[in-house]
């Protein structure tokens, strides 16, 4: 937190790391890795986020309260995306009974 004064060199090294990862993610996009293009793009973005959060935002030097708030935020984001995607991706697994469809003829007399 505010008490820790991080050496300038650390910030510059983190910045150079971020630049290197940006070049890497752009370069990887021009190589055919199939579905792993997306995996690589997200993994590199996650690594960049960690660098910014830990060093620039100082979470590496801050207390437990900030970490709990941050982890809670990402946990809820993960819930949001995971449950939404699990709904959409499994809808085609089972076909609803024909009687549920509005176009089906009424079965009652």
């Amino acid at each position: 937190m505010s008490q820790t004064i991080v050496p300038q060199k650390t910030y510059v090294l983190v910045f150079l790391g971020l630049i290197a990862l940006t070049i890497l993610t752009t370069g990887v996009a021009f190589i055919d890795l199939g579905p792993f293009n997306t995996v690589a793009a997200l993994a590199i973005a996650f690594a960049k986020m960690l660098l910014v959060v830990l060093f620039f935002m100082g979470v590496k030097y801050s207390g437990g309260l900030v970490r709990i708030v941050l982890v809670a935020g990402f946990f809820w984001l993960a819930l949001l995306i995971a449950f939404t995607m699990s709904d959409y991706r499994t809808r085609s697994w089972i076909t609803p009974p024909a009687a549920w469809s509005s176009s089906a003829p009424p079965t009652h007399p």
Binding site: M1, S2, I5, V6, Q8, Y11, V12, V14, F15, L18, I19, T22, I23, T25, T26, A29, F30, I31, D32, L33, N37, T38, A41, L42, I44, A45, K48, M49, V52, V53, F55, F56, M57, S62, L65, V66, V69, L70, A72, G73, F74, W76, L77, L80, I81, T84, M85, Y88, R89
Partner: protein, 228 residues
């Protein structure tokens, strides 16, 4: 030390807090909770993006390839540079170096402005190519040939996401520029000391958060499905 003595001694201490440490703790918890609400705000966009990208992948890939990945990568580096100068601003405030603080704050503002300028150029290019959904949607020639296989309607959906996500991000940057200007004016009036500089840190955290949003937007919007 009595309450009023503590307040007389510490510039920047407001009356509802006992001392600067307590005030700073509240400031930090406040900005982090705000950033979590921002995660959820952008999270809604990212989640709906994930669904439609999965449903209409070919259209999203084609739309993504209309964007210029090199410009996007260069702009990402500009924004990362602004995060470096922002971190150095906070460090200058910690060490009580007012000249360096003002210098790095202005450097952050300039880099942020360059980013927004490039973004404006990119938006203009979308009007040139007529790929602005609703306002100017009439792709033709080579752009049309590239978008058509994935379905023009779904390609339009991709550009809706592009403008909504980068637009909300740019709005956050414009707000950040205003906050930075406010910090520069306060710093020039010597409002910050080595004990009291929480506003610099709080704005810094906001700025880094906006940077992180872009770190995800860049690969998700510019680099869909590879560019080979």
């Amino acid at each position: 030390m009595t309450d009023s003595e503590a307040h007389a001694q510490d510039a920047g201490l407001v009356h509802q807090f006992e001392n600067l440490e307590q005030q700073q703790e509240a400031d930090f918890l406040g900005i982090w909770v705000f950033l979590v609400t921002e995660i959820m705000f952008f999270g809604g966009l990212f989640a709906s993006y994930a669904i439609y990208r999965w449903l209409y992948f070919a259209a999203f890939e084609a739309g993504s390839h209309i964007l210029n990945a090199e410009i996007g990568a260069a702009n990402t580096m500009v924004l990362l540079g602004s995060s470096l100068t922002m971190a150095l601003s906070v460090r200058s405030a910690q060490t009580g170096n007012r000249r360096a603080l003002v210098f790095f704050l202005i450097a952050t503002m300039i880099l942020g402005a360059i980013f927004l300028g490039v973004k404006a150029y990119e938006y203009d290019q979308k009007f040139v190519e007529h790929v602005v959904p609703s306002l100017d949607w009439a792709p033709e020639g080579e752009v049309l040939a590239r978008l058509a296989p994935g379905g023009l309607g779904h390609a339009q959906l991709y550009f809706f996401f592009y403008f909504a996500m980068t637009g909300v991000h740019a709005l956050h940057m414009i707000i950040g520029e205003g906050l930075l200007l406010w910090l520069v004016l306060r710093a020039r009036k010597d409002a910050f000391t080595t004990h009291y500089f929480a506003p610099v840190e709080v704005v810094g955290l906001y700025w880094h958060f906006v940077d992180i949003v872009w770190i995800f937007l860049f690969p998700l919007l510019y680099l869909i499905g590879g560019r080979y």
